[in-house]
């Protein structure tokens, strides 16, 4: 499978703190990768580097020519004082054909709320609208930064089901940061565990058994993920404490 984005040896240091250290990733066609890691692990900065909106101090990023990327930001909460309809928001600074808007609205179940005010949407509706917007220029890669962070469990499930459906029906790759480990493990094919460096990566079941993963997320979390053998050979305690 051809690569969409390849990153190698990404390093970012800010205010004498290492944010990313030799981070690498290879996103191929039809990949579904989830990046997990504790708060402040550099996940969002990493995504910004991949999208080109943040320049790393060193390292290489190779993007496929004319790669189109859809993006869903973290903590999206539109300003209430701005009156704007969902439809206007979707099409703001986007080139598209009207039919496309109709199709995507159907695909993401937002046909009924197109003329609602963006500020009046529920959290679940907002995430679907963002998803619709990110799909508007038919992207090859979807990048999501904690898309279900502020949703209750029912809406989380709905959102991930929708995302899975889109992944299945479209020729699309997905790269997502998420804390919803139980969802991640059940739907993702590949997990990258990031804590300033890439701790481990691979299939969810394998990552759940990795000692680095266990020391980052604790035994309970790892148990939730899978049955594992306790093989603790190093710890993150030092890094976590400083």
């Amino acid at each position: 499978m051809p690569s969409l984005i390849q990153a190698k040896d990404l390093c970012v240091t800010r205010h004498n703190k290492i944010i990313l250290e030799n981070v690498f990733i290879d996103v191929k066609k039809k990949d579904f990768i989830t990046i997990i890691g504790p708060n402040g692990a550099g996940k969002s900065v990493f995504l910004e580097c991949l999208m080109g909106s943040f320049i790393p101090d060193s390292g290489k990023i190779k993007r496929k020519d004319n790669l189109s990327v859809g993006y869903i930001p973290q903590n999206f909460s539109p300003e209430r004082s701005m009156p704007i309809s969902v439809e206007r928001f979707l099409t703001l600074k986007k080139k598209f054909i009207p039919q496309e808007l109709l199709n995507i609205s159907k695909e993401t179940n937002i046909s009924g709320i197109l003329d609602k005010n963006l500020a009046n949407l529920s959290g679940g509706e907002l995430q679907k609208v963002l998803l619709a917007r990110s799909l508007l220029n038919n992207p090859e890669l979807l990048i999501l930064d904690e898309p279900a962070q502020n949703l209750d469990i029912k809406n989380q499930l709905n959102f991930y089901n929708l995302l899975n459906r889109i992944y299945k029906n479209r020729d699309i790759s997905i790269l997502m940061v998420s804390h919803d480990l139980h969802m991640v493990m059940s739907s993702t094919r590949k997990v990258v565990c990031l804590y300033h460096h890439v701790c481990c990566s691979g299939e969810p079941q394998i990552v759940a058994k990795d000692p680095e993963f266990i020391s980052l997320f604790g035994n309970d979390m790892a148990k939730m993920m899978s049955v594992y053998q306790h093989t603790h050979n190093h710890s993150h305690q030092e890094i976590l404490n400083d």
Partner: protein, 265 residues
Amino acid sequence: MIEPFIIRAIIAGVGIAIIAGAIGCFVVWRKMAYFGDSLAHSALLGVALGLVMGISTNLGTIIICSLFAVVLIWLQQKKILATDTLLGILAHSALSVGMVTLSLLEQSIDLHSYLFGDILAVSSAEIYFILFGGFFVLIFLYFNWSSFVLMTIDEKLAKAEGINIVFYQLLIMLLMTVVVAVSFKIVGLLLITSLLIIPAAAARQLANSPEKMAIISSLLAVLSVAIGVYSSLYLDTPSGPSIVVASTIIFITISVFSFIFKKNN
């Protein structure tokens, strides 16, 4: 026969109202009211600079206010102090330096008219300044409208879609600078922010799109300025406060009606 100064007052007032109403929406959306207020405070230093250098006080104001915006953005990037702290320091030190400088100058100036506005003080040169400045602001707003709106909704999203956030932040501050510089003689330094936010806040209750909000806001600002200037001319009240009183009455009226008829939103 209408006196020429009344015609000047009307042209100046309408010009200012249109740009203040439109830019005011961004002040409301982006929560820049305190920034606008601080900018206006620093304009007094601009007046002092203009008088000391022997250039127009409008030009002096533009120079000082632009400098103010650049220094603010630079300090914000450092992230050592919160923005409102920075604004407080910059605004009041600029105001104080301006006051001290003005009091040291030989020539006497009408401080009251700078603080609260004086529609009668508008000269022909200032009319050109207002029209040129207003044209400049509207052109920039028009051509960058969607980028401004998208950035206002969510900066991360806008950044990911290739919008240069710092550039547009600087641009919106620069546009506000121009608005302050062209309008402070009529509305007064202390009251500019209200002309920016009150019509916009009233328009919010009537509009269902950002564009409509900007247009309605401009229209309400024109109405406020017209009523304010009229009462200033015939009741001899200070023009700035008269404009603000008019816009407040409009705001309250619209709020009451929209509360009764819409209940929510």
